[in-house]
């Protein structure tokens, strides 16, 4: 059942998401192949103008894909579970937990798709632009250099690398579930539900900042007094990781509770 729910979530979201991501990749490719080989007095202004326009489109699409993917994920959650479709969704022989899991997974996939299309788009841009200016080797070296640096850092500072990776995973999950939690809180209001969802999101974010600032100051204080900067920095990173994990778990349970016990379809 979980797989089926995810399937239909993706079917619905991909209707709008795939075209936008597709356009994004195509424009990245175009920006690459229209890249002027050289810019000197011989280059026609037309060529530069064309590339400039395409570049502008690429940047616009970058912003658009980010915003649109967010809207698509939010809309899917809202329409499918809290709108009229909720009357169908919640009469499926499926637990609330399964519904939430499906929305988390499909939301994650949608965002991942947006990110991947960005990587491909700019990747194509870089590769084809360099192909045109004959700097292909330099690109290879450039990326090689980055990967080597990361690998060196990781093996030297294994503990940081682990924390970093875990942080990346937790943060992305946290970002998504925080949105769903805010939507559910807003749903409790009798009026202006969407507005209240935004308010909830802002309030939660403020609370998060306050907590992490307090923790940060504690660590800085201890670090200053005890001159344990290195250890304190690592301890701070670990503590932030733990804090975010706890918050994420809290948001998951909060969202589940509201969805299971405080559903109020109109």
């Amino acid at each position: 059942m979980l797989g089926k729910l995810i399937k239909y979530d993706l079917k619905s979201m991909f209707r709008s998401l795939l075209p936008v991501c597709g356009a994004f990749i195509v424009v990245g490719f175009l920006a690459g192949i229209s890249f002027p080989n050289t810019i000197d007095s011989d280059t026609t202004s037309g060529v530069v103008l064309l590339w400039g326009t395409i570049l502008f489109a690429l940047i616009a699409l970058t912003v658009a894909v980010s915003i649109i993917s967010l809207i698509i994920v939010i809309t899917r959650f809202y329409k499918n579970l809290l709108g009229n479709e909720g009357y169908l969704s919640f009469t499926l022989p499926v637990t609330t937990g399964t519904h939430l899991a499906a929305k988390c997974i499909s939301g994650y996939i949608a965002f991942a798709l947006a990110v991947i299309s960005g990587i491909i788009s700019y990747g194509l841009f870089a590769v084809f632009a360099c192909a045109r200016t004959g700097d292909l080797d330099e690109i290879g070296e450039f990326f090689n250099g980055i990967f080597t640096a990361i690998a060196e850092f990781a093996s030297a500072q294994m503990h940081y690398a682990v924390v970093f990776v875990l942080m990346a995973i937790v943060s992305t999950i946290m970002a998504l579930i925080k949105i769903y939690f805010s939507i559910m809180i807003g749903h409790q209001a009798s009026d202006h539900k969407i507005l209240m969802s935004f308010v909830a999101y802002i309030v939660i974010t403020i609370i998060e900042s306050v907590i992490s600032n307090i923790i940060g100051m504690v660590f800085i204080g201890v670090g200053v007094f005890a001159s344990l900067f290195g250890e304190m920095t690592f301890a701070f990173a670990v503590t932030t990781l733990i804090l975010n994990t706890v918050l994420t778990i809290g948001y998951i349970f909060g969202t589940y509770y509201l969805l299971n016990n405080r559903l109020n379809l109109e």
Partner: protein, 231 residues
């Protein structure tokens, strides 16, 4: 054993009671009318039975169990809201039902769509409201469930479609199923009902066999309803 049972069920919103200490038992093999004015608690009762709301007090039991995925697989719900996704075609929503409901009878659904001349390749969002209602009803009736909740099944359709819908409800009748129809249009459905349940302000004020009631009161169910709920 009653197929649908409410034991001292209450549902409160703030200090307002949508349902107040309701006891009700409905047996299989019946077509029951859930009747009452707006705000009487009909929709709340149906939502509770479908697991869309939690009781404030008391227990609601479907075939002896509390609402859960297990009960949802034997309950077919036709809400009075337009609950189907706009972007799907009829074929798509049929596949959706096949995917999730083991008791869905595809052939029956296609047969009904055919006799109402509904194009299965059409997008739901592009259909008229009346046609969408028919599709929703067909999907709900094509399931071989134990309990059917039909919330205003004939309110939004033309008279010819109404006849078809009532005939479908009759022909779908199974001795081990329970059909609950909630509606304002009592005169149109009363010949199809075995029993009537009158709800007023969250209380059950009547639960009786319709033929007995007509014999007792000497008037139609619709007529008696108007008498009981006269403003």
């Amino acid at each position: 054993m009653a197929l649908l049972e409410l034991r001292q069920v209450s549902k409160r919103y703030g200090n307002k009671s949508a349902l107040d200490c309701v006891d009700l038992q409905l047996e299989e093999g019946r077509i029951v009318g859930l009747l009452g004015p707006n705000g009487s608690g009909k929709t709340t009762l149906i939502k509770l039975a479908n697991g869309l709301l939690r009781t404030s007090n008391g227990a609601i039991l479907i075939d002896g169990k509390e609402p859960s995925p297990e009960t949802k697989s034997i309950v077919s719900y036709l809400p009075d809201k337009d609950s189907l996704p706009d972007w799907m075609k009829v074929d798509d929503i049929i596949n959706y039902y096949v995917d999730f409901f083991a008791d869905f009878d595809v052939d029956r659904a296609k047969e009904m769509l055919g006799s109402l001349n509904i194009d299965s390749k059409m997008k739901l969002g592009k259909m008229s409201k009346g046609t969408r209602e028919k599709v929703r009803l067909i999907l709900a009736m094509a399931r071989k469930s134990k309990i059917y909740f039909l919330d205003e099944p004939i309110a939004g359709v033309d008279p010819a479609a109404r006849d078809y819908i009532l005939k479908t409800i009759i022909s779908n009748y199974e001795p081990n199923a329970l059909v609950i129809i909630s509606t304002h249009l009592i005169a149109d459905v009363e010949n199809v009902l075995d029993e009537a349940v009158f709800l007023r302000e969250g209380h059950v004020v009547l639960h009786q066999n319709v033929q007995e009631l007509i014999e007792e009161k000497g008037k139609s169910l619709d007529g008696y309803f108007r008498e009981v709920f006269a403003c």
